[in-house]
């Protein structure tokens, strides 16, 4: 019993478990974020979306989860940095010839790079929306929905995604996310010890579909707005 919990997240196996837990938590966030933002495709001038955004911005549970989310992102990143540095230490001499593609997927070997690209995208994304909604104000007038005043997050989206290079940055961000998830989704289950002959093929298929469709739906948002499909 003296060993209870000691080193649970510091040993090599524990570090994987931490990556898996935080990864799955971030995946659950993606589902919520994607579902809410997809309401823009209702194409009602942002009515449902602005109401949903208002709920997300004011609900106490969501606001607490927002802090947990940032903690989760930071833990995921710090853990990844520790993993990378440990691996460098364990593997200081490289092979002259390394046939990586013969034994693993490129995106499995380049998770750190993909994660860095996602982080860069995240900074741009947070400055575009979150930072303004929380701190500086959107800089555009609010809208009236059913006699009530709402912050015009939808109007902000239309404004941000009217710029071509921003749309390109968002698409590249989503491509990075897709490949990161392609490895990360099933990898999280493996790290948590959830590998089973019956269920693993289902988890892998779900992971692949998730990695394609969630980033695709996200990417379609700036694309649809830029090309004027949404009013």
């Amino acid at each position: 019993m003296t060993t209870f919990l000691s080193g649970i997240f510091t040993r090599s196996v524990g570090k994987k478990i931490a990556m898996g837990i935080t990864g799955l938590f971030l995946i659950s966030f993606l589902i919520v974020h994607c579902a809410i933002n997809a309401t823009i495709f209702v194409n009602d001038g942002g009515k449902v979306f602005n109401e949903a955004a208002h709920f997300m911005g004011t609900n106490i549970f969501i606001r607490i989860m927002e802090i947990v989310l940032f903690a989760g992102i930071i833990w995921h990143i710090v853990q990844a940095l520790i993993l990378t540095l440990d691996s460098r230490k364990a593997n200081s001499v490289k092979y002259a010839k390394f046939d990586g593609k013969a034994n693993s997927k490129w995106y499995s070997r380049w998770m750190g790079l993909l994660g860095t690209l996602i982080l860069m995208f995240l900074v741009v994304h947070l400055l575009d929306f979150w930072a303004q909604a929380r701190f500086t104000g959107l800089g555009i007038p609010p809208v009236m929905i059913d006699g009530k005043e709402y912050e015009n997050m939808y109007g902000k989206m239309l404004e941000v995604f009217s710029v071509g290079w921003v749309v390109v940055v968002y698409i590249l961000g989503m491509i990075s996310l897709a490949y990161h998830l392609m490895h990360g989704f099933q990898s999280a289950f493996q790290s948590l010890g959830l590998n089973h002959k019956k269920y693993t093929p289902v988890i892998k298929l779900t992971g692949t579909l998730f990695s394609i469709f969630i980033p695709l739906i996200f990417a379609l948002m700036p694309i649809a707005i830029y090309f004027g499909f949404l009013k």
Binding site: T3, F4, L5, S6, G7, I8, R11, S12, V13, G14, K15, K16, I17, L83, D86, S87, K89, A90, N91, S92, V93, K94, Y95, A96, K97, F98, D99, G100, A102, N103, S104, K105, S108, R109, M111, H183, S187, F189, Q190, S191, L192, G193, L194, N195, H196, K197, T200
Partner: protein, 246 residues
């Protein structure tokens, strides 16, 4: 067959190593990779040069001694075989073959292609055993073991400890080896008794010996000459978590 070999030469643990190029003529396609090395070494000895040091023992794919990184892959291009079971017919005439030692901090090079894998022995000593009191052995059939459990233990016991998993891993992680050694025992009733301490002690020793962390690229499974599944690693994660939480 005529081949060009680019081989890592290193005098000792502390010396700087470098690649040397050796042309090898009239190689039979039926030679094993190690026999081709014997052939080359004979030539070097006849010329008065230092032969190339490499590990080998049983030469029938079960001892785990041979350990060569051939053309960017552990045990060469054919899946599911050790270097000694790799034959020259798997290469093209005129090909240049690059041969390197396993690369990992926990496997320091001793000489040329020979690495020190005693870190594996230390991990085994930390928990890769079953404590049995001495005395008269009881009848084997008194302990009932299902076929599934027996097969699981057997598939784990396939590990020959060659180190290809560590060599192939971009993180130099030993998790496929360690998890195999754990479930070699933990799948059976006699081994279950010490399951909790075993997983914790072996994982701790693995970390201490300087092996890296696993990031689930599954390169180990792809290059394991015994084709052991990464399912073992997931089971180890599960067992580790259970041991820590209960």
């Amino acid at each position: 067959m005529n081949l060009t070999l680019k081989i890592w030469r290193q005098k000792n643990k502390n010396a700087e190593g470098k690649f040397e190029t050796y042309p090898v003529k009239d190689v039979s396609p039926d030679m094993s990779f190690l026999e081709m090395f014997d052939y080359l070494n004979e030539e070097l000895i006849n010329k008065g040069e230092e032969p190339i040091a490499f590990d080998s023992d049983c030469r029938e794919g079960i001892c785990g001694s041979c350990s060569m990184w051939i053309n960017g892959r552990a045990h060469g291009p054919v899946p599911g075989v050790t270097t000694c079971q790799l034959h020259m017919r798997s290469f093209k005439d005129g090909e240049t073959i690059t041969v390197e030692p396993w690369r990992a901090k926990a496997f320091p090079v001793i000489k040329d292609l020979v690495v020190d894998r005693s870190s594996f022995d230390k991990v085994i000593a930390a928990g890769g055993f079953v404590s049995i009191n001495t005395g008269g052995a009881q009848d084997g059939n008194t302990i009932l073991i299902s076929k599934d459990d027996a097969s699981e233990a057997f598939s784990a016991s396939m590990c020959i400890g060659c180190g290809a998993c560590v060599a192939a891993c971009k993180n130099s992680s030993a998790m496929l080896f360690v998890s195999s050694k754990i479930f070699h025992f933990a799948s059976l009733p006699q081994g279950k008794v010490e399951a909790k301490t075993r997983v914790q002690n072996m994982v701790a020793k693995m970390d201490e010996e300087g092996f890296g962390d696993c990031s689930n690229t599954y390169a180990c499974e792809a290059q394991c000459p015994k084709e052991i599944s990464v399912e073992k690693i997931a089971k180890m994660n599960r067992e580790y978590l259970t041991a820590k939480l209960t």
